[in-house]
């Protein structure tokens, strides 16, 4: 890449932008720069990526300019699952998922009672990632939303159906002991759920 300041700015912008950039947006990077200047610098970038065999290229789409990885790398990226590596789920998310998987449909209050921590943030996060969805509304006060796991969750776990999960009583670190501990935790002690349904589904 040349020492051309404009080209550097354009590269920085194209790299960090979350959408294709129009000529006008790109002109906003530097005062008093003509559309012709921008076009020329873009062309220089395009050629540089080509000549130096970079893994990405400058593409002009209807909506504007964008840097995209070349097609030929798509397969390797997908296989290495890097382009869309699933972020590791936090312990909070995993615990919440486990509770939902074993008790679905289940409401927020019950999840919070078991985990001893507010759950709305985690529930939203899991919903955003399509790991849980709303199964309906419960009967209780305020008709709380009830959650269940989704097919995406099954796919991620390599399961065909929830019943393939080990039974609760087979789990070394089962959820049940956790619930039994609850009475000792400060504050929330009285509200231990009375139903300890032995579910095997």
């Amino acid at each position: 890449m040349s020492a051309n300041h404009l080209a550097q700015l354009l590269e920085a912008a194209l790299f960090s932008a979350s959408h294709p950039l129009t000529l006008n947006e790109l002109r906003g990077l530097e005062p008093d720069v003509s559309p012709a200047d921008v076009r020329k610098a873009l062309e220089a970038l395009r050629e540089h990526y080509e000549t130096d065999e970079h893994a990405f290229e400058l593409v002009e789409l209807a909506q504007g300019y964008q840097l995209l990885t070349r097609r030929e790398h798509a397969e390797a990226l997908t296989e290495a699952r890097i382009a869309h590596r699933p972020r590791k789920l936090s312990a909070a998310s995993l615990e919440t998922l486990a509770i939902i998987a074993y008790r679905e449909p289940v409401g927020r209050a019950e999840i919070e009672e078991i985990r001893g921590v507010a759950a709305d943030g985690v529930l939203k996060h899991l919903q955003d990632r399509d790991l849980i969805d709303v199964a309906g509304r419960g009967e209780g006060l305020g008709r709380p939303l009830l959650y269940r796991t989704t097919d995406t969750f099954l796919a991620m776990m390599g399961l065909n159906e929830l019943s393939e999960l080990p039974r609760l009583d087979q789990l070394a670190v089962a959820l049940r002991p956790l619930a039994e501990e609850l009475p000792e935790t400060e504050g929330e002690g009285e509200a231990v759920p009375a139903e300890e349904q032995p579910e095997d589904s």
């Binding site: 790299f15 960090s16 294709p20 964008q66 995209l68 382009a83 796919a155 991620m156 390599g158 065909n160």
Partner: protein
């Protein structure tokens, strides 16, 4: 001490805002620093009053955390007023625990400031902004074990009340043949009934073949399909210039 006192110590402007403090220790540290007080020798009586005045001024006197600290300061003040035992070894400075906490908190603040400046520096460097949508998730791994399959099959068989056996006889559609036959018929006469083409009790595959052939001929302009009413028999009219009328 009145609230106007809190506005100035040593005639210096003293402006505090509610969200300027992250907690009672922060406020306490602020009061101490503002007046350049030696943290190891805090004039508790003064500081306690300033603290109380400040939380009243700030309207945060409902906050339990601040009230708890205020109570703690007052307790320390009272204990300092109690006569000290003559034997120095037995006496402990009631401020010691507070000093330790203040130092610990000050250290936390220093680390927090450090993290803040690191995060600010890091925030000036941007990652790639546009990440393509993830492709469809890979299909789940399929685990097959014989026992499971056999069990599933048995369950399905048990659930079936009566076995239903279908016999499937292959009889392919013959659109070409149907087309040829219709053309031949239309060559002899200008109008045909559908029934005439397929004959009595036709097989379903013949009906479909003829239908497709007719639609194709209609598309090509060789025949016109006429139906008087829905669900009624329809008539095929050979589409030569003379027959069009």
């Amino acid at each position: 001490m009145t609230s106007s006192d809190i506005l100035s110590f040593d005639d210096r402007p003293f402006v505090v805002q509610l969200d300027a403090f992250s907690g009672p220790l922060d406020l306490l540290l602020h009061l101490i620093r503002e007046q350049e007080i030696d943290i190891a020798d805090i004039p508790i009586a003064t500081i306690a009053e300033q603290f109380l005045a400040a939380i009243e001024k700030l309207g945060i006197n409902q906050a339990a955390d601040y009230l708890e600290m205020a109570a703690r300061l007052l307790r320390i003040k009272i204990r300092l007023l109690l006569p000290q035992p003559l034997d120095d070894d037995e006496w402990e400075d009631p401020r010691a625990e507070l000093v330790r906490r203040l130092l610990e908190y000050e250290q936390t603040r220093e680390v927090a400031d450090l993290l803040s400046s690191r995060a600010t520096a890091r925030a000036e460097r941007f990652p790639r902004g546009w990440i393509p949508d993830p492709p469809q998730p890979l299909p789940p791994e399929i685990i097959i074990d014989l026992e499971g399959v056999v069990g599933a099959v048995e369950r399905v068989i048990d659930a079936m009340q009566q076995p239903i056996i279908h016999r499937v006889v292959p009889r392919p559609l013959d659109i070409e043949g149907a087309t040829k036959r219709i053309r031949e018929l239309l060559a002899g006469r200008s109008r045909l009934d559908f029934q005439e083409i397929v004959g009595e009790r036709p097989h379903v595959s013949l009906v479909i073949s003829v239908l497709i052939a007719l639609l194709e001929l209609a598309r090509l302009g060789e025949a016109l399909l006429v139906q008087a009413k829905p669900f009624e028999e329809f008539t095929i009219v050979g589409e030569s210039p003379s027959a069009a009328a």
